[in-house]
Amino acid sequence: MNKVKRHRTKHNFAGAEKNSLIVQLLLILVVIIVSIPIYIVIINLFKTTDVIRTSPLSFPTVFSLDSLIYVITDPYKNIWELYLNSALVTFGGTILSVLLSSMVAYFIARSNNRLSNFMRTYFMLGLMIPYILVYVPLALLLRFVGLMNGGIPVLIFIYTSNTISFGVFIFTGFIRSLPRDMEESASLDGANIYQTFWRIIFPLLKPATATVAIFVGVAMWNDFLTPMLLGGNIQTITTGIYNAIGAHATDWARVFAYVFMASLPLVIAFLTLQKQFISGLTSGSIKG
């Protein structure tokens, strides 16, 4: 039997090879090691900190929802408000970024003149400059115009300004790959340039829009420095849990509960739209 099996692998083509049993077991071992931290979060979510101290790696014997309930009902740190802030900032920023960058990209991709060529370079600059350079002068600017506590709208515009280059880059490439005859056909059908964009081009951008939205959306939801340094009194989920955990630094049950709650929305989104997330995040950063 062993002989037969060997015979088969030998004749398989290289690319379609199957792993040997040992390699496959090794892979599973690596998977287990990589998943341990996630496992720890999940099992300890349902324990109290005392139980965690005594049996940190075992399955919970008594399911305790104390820490989760505490996090959800914490009167000093309203997690629902954090969710709302993060959601508003993320969705607002993503939508604005997609809209504005696709419009800029349409101009750059379809107008061949000196201005559009300049704009291309101008927006490329934003991809190369580390954002850390911006915080101090931007803080000054916001204080200067009295918007340091401008709240969610200010954060939305900041995120838009900082992701728009990426969107322009992806959308420009995509629009250039679209055949021009659909626009020409629309113009013969009686559409003006705005109708052509919103009714023909924008719907066709869907794959690029998915990439841009996922890429910038995840970045906005997870960002920590911007809300911390420029958010004024607005706390998002990241700065919120940072502050909340700061108060319970060694109360692991609550730490896990906070981490779990902070990550839950994005993890659910990721698990339901795995393909789009993975391709959006990887192809996005490869192209960007």
């Binding site: 055949p179 005859d181 009686g190 003006n192 009714r199 066709l204």
Partner: protein, 383 residues
């Protein structure tokens, strides 16, 4: 329906071409003249076909008519109104694109309704127009589908449908059948002829396929190198090609050309040299040449393959290749190293009497020969 007039139209792509190049043109270091001296009057309901090899300027001309390409010089009128600077959307022109250019995110219904919606027509009017056009093209059952799910032939119909719902003044078609396979192409060609009878519109149709041009057009505009070579009915273009290019381009197999011949004038009669003989031209042709006081000159003589017959007497040749095409035979004859193609109906020939490398004799009627000036390449019989 409308009259279309093009007067001295010219299209020049500038030397510094930083932007996109027009399809098929290489980047050039100097101004590139795509179309020049284009004069044409298309009357109401006429079906005009622009035909020519790729890069001859036919599509560029069509795109100038559509308004997709700027007219460098000249005037373009629709119904006596100068529309050079009218935007495509205001010209009331419909166009079927080579790749159909259907909007992929809209259903067939919405593709067809799009232009009407933009014109803010009433819902019922839109619905009625879309449905009647769909019926005309037999695509009613496709109305709710997306273009992606359609076959090539169906997409083609939808593209036509999208154009006809609007009752355009002028109906443009840019190589609409070139993406279809041969069988479907023949079928769609027939459908376009039928369609044309049912809708009253001026058609301008671009193709590189001379069969489409001959079968569809009321008149054909043959183009080459950005210039009109001849405008005429299919019959005129076939029978009286105005120059060597048209003679060679129209008709398959190609006209046989004999390059190093002479037109001779002897005692008031014109002769041509061909196969070491002097052949006297028939009376009608004599008169045309006389009227122009044509002098002796170097000429190219052309004879269409079906106008040559294998006969018992005539010029001797060797039979090189026999191509059986079904209803007709293509015979390749060799006369002194020169290849001549003869087309003869299969029914009129006994195949068993023909063998490769056999000596045959062929003849032709002097009435059916064409003579072109070798220098300027024009047809000497053209008036």
């Amino acid at each position: 329906m409308a009259k279309v007039t093009l007067h001295n139209i010219m299209k020049v792509y500038p030397a510094v071409d930083r932007g996109e190049k027009p399809a098929g043109k290489k980047n050039r270091s100097e101004d590139f003249v795509a179309v020049r001296d284009f004069n044409l009057e298309v009357s109401d309901n006429e079906f005009i076909v622009f035909v020519g090899p790729s890069g001859c300027g036919k599509s560029t001309t069509l795109r100038m008519i559509a308004g997709l390409e700027e007219i460098t010089e000249g005037e373009f009128y629709i119904d006596d109104e100068l529309v050079n600077d009218v935007a495509p959307k205001d010209r009331n022109i419909a166009m079927v694109f080579q790749n159909y250019a259907l909007y992929p995110h809209m259903t067939v219904y919405n593709n067809m309704a799009f232009s009407l919606k933009l014109r803010k027509e009433k819902k019922e009017v839109i619905d009625q127009k879309v449905r009647s056009s769909a019926e005309l093209l037999d695509i009613t059952e496709l109305l709710h589908r997306k273009p992606k799910t359609l076959s090539g032939g169906q997409r083609q119909r939808v593209a036509i449908g999208r154009a006809i719902v609007r009752d355009p003044k002028v109906f443009l078609m840019d190589e609409p059948l070139s993406n279809l396979d041969t069988k479907l192409r023949n079928q769609m060609r027939a459908e376009i002829i039928k369609l044309r009878e049912r809708i009253q519109t001026t058609f301008i149709y671009v193709t590189h396929d001379q069969i489409e041009a001959m079968t569809l057009g009321d008149r054909i505009v043959v183009m080459n190198n950005g210039q009109i070579q001849q405008i005429g009915t299919p019959q005129e273009v076939f029978d009286d090609p105005s120059n060597l290019f048209v003679a060679g381009f129209i008709g398959t197999p190609q006209m046989n050309f004999f390059n190093d011949e002479k037109l001779l004038l002897n005692e008031g009669k014109y002769y041509i040299t061909l196969f070491d003989q002097n052949i006297e031209l028939p009376q009608r042709k004599q008169e045309i040449l006389k009227a122009r006081n044509q002098e002796e000159t170097d000429v190219v003589v052309g004879i269409r393959p079906p106008h040559i017959t294998i006969s018992d007497n005539g010029t001797l040749a060797e039979l090189d290749i026999i191509e059986m095409m079904g209803s007709e035979l293509h015979l390749h004859l060799n006369v002194d190293g020169k290849d001549i193609i003869v087309v003869t109906p299969t029914t009129a020939t006994d195949l068993s009497t023909l063998h490769k490398h056999q000596q045959v004799k062929f003849s032709f009627h002097p009435e059916l020969i064409h003579i072109f000036d070798k220098e300027i390449k024009t047809n000497l019989f053209s008036l």
